[in-house]
Symmetry: C2
Subunit: 524 residues, 2 copies
Amino acid sequence: MEKSLSVNHARAGGGTIFEILHRDGMGRVGKLSTSHGDVTTPTLMPVIDPSDMVLPPQELRTDFGVELVITNAYLALRRFGQEAIERGIHGTLDYDGPIMTDSGGYQILRYGAIEVGPEEIVRYQDAIAPDIATILDIPTGIGASRERALETVRTTLERAKQAIGFRSNPKVAWCGPVQGGIFSDLVAEYAREIGRLDYQLHAIGSPVELLENYRYAEIVDLVMTAKQHLPLERLVHLFGAGHPMILALAVAMGCDLFDSAAYVLYARGGRYMTSSKTLRLDELACLPCECKICTEHSLDEIKKARPDERVKLLAKHNLHVTFGELRRIRQAIVEGRLWEYVEMKCRAHPRLLNALRRLARYRDYIERFDPVSKPSAFCYLGPESADRPEVVRYAKRLAERYRPPHLPTLALVPTFERERPKLEKPGQTHIVRLIPPFGVVPEELEDVYPLGQFQVPQELDERQIQSTVAALSNYLQKFAGYYERILLFDDPVHWGTTLVEACGQVGEKLEVIPLSSLASGEVV
Amino acid sequence: MEKSLSVNHARAGGGTIFEILHRDGMGRVGKLSTSHGDVTTPTLMPVIDPSDMVLPPQELRTDFGVELVITNAYLALRRFGQEAIERGIHGTLDYDGPIMTDSGGYQILRYGAIEVGPEEIVRYQDAIAPDIATILDIPTGIGASRERALETVRTTLERAKQAIGFRSNPKVAWCGPVQGGIFSDLVAEYAREIGRLDYQLHAIGSPVELLENYRYAEIVDLVMTAKQHLPLERLVHLFGAGHPMILALAVAMGCDLFDSAAYVLYARGGRYMTSSKTLRLDELACLPCECKICTEHSLDEIKKARPDERVKLLAKHNLHVTFGELRRIRQAIVEGRLWEYVEMKCRAHPRLLNALRRLARYRDYIERFDPVSKPSAFCYLGPESADRPEVVRYAKRLAERYRPPHLPTLALVPTFERERPKLEKPGQTHIVRLIPPFGVVPEELEDVYPLGQFQVPQELDERQIQSTVAALSNYLQKFAGYYERILLFDDPVHWGTTLVEACGQVGEKLEVIPLSSLASGEVV
């Protein structure tokens, strides 16, 4: 287990420490240590309403693998006031595990102003002592004008600065929210500003309305803009993203914490989550899930249960699916297969696929953080795979650093297997394989990850062909002059006439031989 | 619930009836009625070894949703002989639910000849009275020469004909296996022959070795060839395909029954199934699953359990995942979203994606069986979506039947929204939207499924562009002469120069207007 980053132990004396244990893409598996126990990230914090607990936190921990819960300090203040200060938030919730508090920002977004000021809510949280607390930010929301958006980010930043002076409890870590909504320049500027302040994690605000309207591509812009300007070693909480269908993509962008009131709200509305969508009970033909609830109950039993019992069953199912999904994501990161997992999960909806395609705009940035070697093979799973960091990195390095060896003959071999042509003069020939989406792969580089370890479908898509043909044309333009003779082992079944056309520029040096001659062991 | 086919009640007196309840692609949800109860298909039959039951059939039924089990008549004969005749196979297994017996064909494939003849094994099954029995076929296997393959299909067919004469128990339904392996012409010919005989279901033989080597594209060829020549209303059992990762694709090709010894064999080898792959216990960083086993136990508990207990836990987990996957597949069929589900699941491995691409070769055949209307929107999830039956059907009908109305102006609008251009002379203009992967969609057709109900990513892939440009060129070639004026609302951000180029052929009739003018409500 590679432990690459260890930060935030500045806030010692029982404070929080966040360690990154595994990385893939911008995603990471981490360990958040608090004075009430450790939390494995990425994770989801079920929202606890202290006066209406459908499932108490203790049960969430033992039955579902919940390690961190979130509750609302503003609501706690209104309902429990001084009592919560005396008992602490842990006593109030009767839970001795890690607790985060939110501040009422969401209530501002939904209901307008609230009756508590930013100083009061910070001092109150300091007193009730959750493991993580949140300043009172002003959510930008999606409908906001640029002027209003600017006001929200300025006020939030101002409050973040002031809050530092009101904090005195060293056991509490603090969250500084990033606002700005769909105004990317504001998100960027204020993420940079708040990232300079003494905060241990940052929540990215305003995605809720985007999520509700399936505007996932804009979530990609929002999160990637914030991530590019926040300190990378800090925890990032994507506020309000509680549906399992979005988690893999959000984690791949570097989000660590999620919160969910949805598991209960959906249950109350008779809605059944799957890891890729939501279904109403009346849309179900069976229970398409293997969780304990869905194997120990029939669909009919759930439908006919008493309403409060039905809400409980559905809430439990929704949580099981969500935490199963989180564990699948963690496992994918440890295996170095997060991109593959995201490519699969983004087939849950065309809007998610669209978001994944939008992520390609940030590929150069992502490439800088993606591990240079992974424990598993690179798998091509569709055109989006051609925008993966490994492909971007290879193209960059080939363009910047590569020079071919001095050999008279170039053999272009469009095969994904390690079979080699039988050559009359093997020492005189430079073998270059054509492997989409990498394009041209000179044999000297075949042991560099992932060129020695990849799986690509033989039935090619247009992106595979186009990207390889472009790389081939480019290679020949630069290096055709190095060779006296160029052999193309052509495979028209899979490539049509594209390879021969790309080789057209080399003129009489070209000799075209059928790829099938490779299998026959013919000497060329 | 549409009940479209009801067959095989020829074998009455307590025999089997197979009813198809829902269809999508070639896939179907069906009800198999036997004298020991009903079975919902598609389903998987856990293989029961009567002398070594890790999980007894009764427990499989109550805890996992298993409705049909399979056991081996050849092994039963050797171990129980006359006793099984007296007690019946149901008494022998102490299970009163539906049971299928296999005949020993698999043992021939693995260990060479067996000591029981084809007549004896048929008469024995007739006597022990499973709900479904299987004749003694000769598996072709994958390494077989053409000569050997021909011998296996001929002998199997001969035995299938003779077996009819040995059968006397009307409660037993019979399975006639299809052999031929990778020799498609033999598979086709002998599937047709055996399909003419009095059998109630057919097993497609020989996929095991292909499955073990991830040769999924060849499985597509094998299954599609067999399906095209078997009576479609009969049940199809894909022999030996027990891993959840292959199930969705196999069901979409029309397979109804699967068997699995893998759930126990994998468990014995310390292998943990997920719905898309297999992991060794030592590769797990957590338990990436929401099943009862994985929420009630920690990874460490499973690793440290006594060996027999560990096998049980893993076998149970493997079965939970498999049956969860089957229910997801059934739900997808009922929703009319099986193709979408298959497109997602085939991202589990590039070889599966390759197999899905291979399935495109059979798209014209599949189109004939895919429902013309579905309860859900058409979702574009990648280049493979362009080969879906709905797209094939639309292209066919447009080519064969379409004639534009007589209007002087054609407006080409590349937008997926229902927004329309504001036209100076609306009654004079024919609006045609450009919607990948459908291509050209004249407004008169927009209420035909799925043109009124689709979700397409706005960030286009090459296949979306190419297929639409090809359809547009073709449309203009045929019909440009009908119009006096052609307006193209161009969107270079998403389409580059491709639309303008495709319109080049219409010459001076063309007027290019930015698509953005649509939003501004400008009158054109």
